[in-house]
């Protein structure tokens, strides 16, 4: 019976061939709204997740300032700054990918997603190099740990420097894990974009992934000063 109150799933507002509307939603705009609220809620949980580590960082920096200053001197400022630039650029390319997804320009979507992927992979590669470097210099907490200054002397308050490095690896490691997941999702988005899945009627996955990518970028923008910049000159 086609009474006016019957709303068949997928009818009202469903695009002709893009973006299937799930059966439990009334229309595409409700689906998009729900997905957007969902992604923002998820990002809130991520803030709390990283927040725990930031709390531990602040607690220990306050307790052992000399150790933290000395240990943070051992991070490579040039590499860190370069990596920060790479990541910020990747946010730019991601924003452009979203922009072109909204316009439906298939090749440009693929291009900018690929550039984002490239920049993200570069960041991860540089991070891997940094981790390797720390391993070689005995800065990984554990049995072989031995923190030394440039001149070869032990770091100030060396007994507490493993805390800095534990937090360094914990925080950047968690961040890198999020980036690896992001890189995986970009591959998936590229595959879909090449088939023309995204256009003005439906580009929600690209837009919401963009939110996620920008969030990961913002976390790094907090991590970089805390781990690389603060107290650099104050260290003996």
């Amino acid at each position: 019976m086609d009474s006016p109150t019957v709303i068949a799933p997928g009818e009202a507002g469903a695009p002709p061939h893009h973006g299937h509307v799930e059966h439990h939603f009334e229309d595409a705009s409700q689906q998009k709204d729900a997905a957007t609220v969902g992604m923002w809620c998820f990002l809130v949980t991520e803030v709390m997740f990283f927040g725990g580590l930031f709390l531990a960082y602040f607690a220990y920096r306050q307790a052992y300032p000399a150790a933290f200053a000395s240990a943070s001197n051992n991070t490579n400022l040039i590499i860190g700054a370069a990596n920060t630039t790479v990541l910020i650029c990747s946010s730019l390319t991601m924003a452009l990918a979203v922009h072109f997804a909204a316009l439906g320009k298939r090749q440009l979507i693929v291009l900018f997603l690929a550039l984002t992927l490239l920049l993200g992979a570069t960041f991860l590669g540089v991070k891997a190099y940094e981790y390797h470097d720390k391993w070689v210099r005995h800065e990984v907490p554990g049995y072989h740990f031995d923190c030394r200054t440039e001149e070869g002397a032990p770091c100030t308050d060396a007994a507490h420097t493993p805390l800095f490095f534990s937090l360094y690896f914990g925080m950047t490691g968690l961040h890198a894990t999020h980036m690896i997941v992001g890189v995986g999702i970009i591959l998936f988005l590229i595959a879909k974009a090449r088939k023309g899945a995204y256009g003005p009627e439906w580009y929600t996955p690209v837009e919401l992934f963009g939110l996620y990518w920008h969030f990961v970028d913002i976390v790094w923008i907090f991590l970089f000063p805390l781990l690389y910049l603060i107290d650099r000159s104050a260290a003996k």
């Binding site: 052992y64 300032p65 000399a66 150790a67 100030t156 007994a159 507490h160």
Partner: protein, 355 residues
Amino acid sequence: MGEKSFQIFPEAASTIAGHVDALYAYLVLVSAFFSLLIAFCVVYFAVKYRRRGDEIPRPMDEHSIGGMILEIVWSVIPLGLSLVMFAWGASIFFTESRPPADSMEIYVTGKQWMWKIQHNEGAREINELHVPVNRDIRLTLTSEDVIHDFYVPAFRTKTDVLPGRYTTEWFRPTKVGAYHIFCAEYCGTKHSGMIGTVYVMNEADYNAWLAAGSGEGSMAEQGQALFNQLGCGTCHPSEINKLNGRCPNLFGLFGTTVELNDGSKVKADESYIRESVLYPQSKIVAGYDNIMPTFKGLVTEDGLLKVVEYIKSLGPRNGMPSSATSAPAQTSGPQPPAAPTANSRAGNPATPGNR
């Protein structure tokens, strides 16, 4: 220990116990009143307003003013009663956080699964604590392994005992007798076996007990022996006015405020001494270099307490160990201003005759 088989309350054997019991009585009365009130109302309404037949109540108007007044009343009254609970409890807690300045000091080390207790005069006990009645007793506690908790129900007081830190607990026993010590923070296999007894004795009995104590000398004397044995004396002067530019002078250090090389200030309490021995690089005194080696692994927690007692004994602040004036060591929170006492170094000459 009052081994009645049917008991509801533990004995009240300290000055604070009576206050805690009074607060408890208030809490029980308020709780009983509201529990019974609610229970009565629920039962009464369930009976009086039970459904008869098919009728349901006429939809009532949203309880406008009357409803709002009720909501405010039953928010404000509980809030008021609660704030009394808060204030009363906070006042008791503050008393518990401030040991009197002339408390007698006893040191406790907890480890899986026993309590080791050291008296200044040198007496040592395991799982037993002998104290004189009607004296303020202040315990300084630390753990050698995991977190424990030193709980004396009869005194209504407890504190967690942490590894790597000193915590304090004080009480003034009021009744001679024997009371339980319980470990009240789960610490592994024999957590429930980590129990002991506090023996509160009258002054004469206590002194007699003390005199029969260990023949190793007082804690301060044992601490001095360690101090020399570990080589501390080769750098740190411990006599008045001796300075050598390499290591800070320890004479009269305890209880003063020390300025560090980054401009911050810290109080030279038990925790500071301990940290300086184990992690000397964490805090460098202004005007000195970072050259002190660490003694971690070379001295036990018991040994550290002896060294602390020795350093406390250096200088005019030294007196009879059991009546020594010692500043309350606050291991956490903001430091209260050091209360000037009769023996403060602000003006009094050393009184060596007080030993």
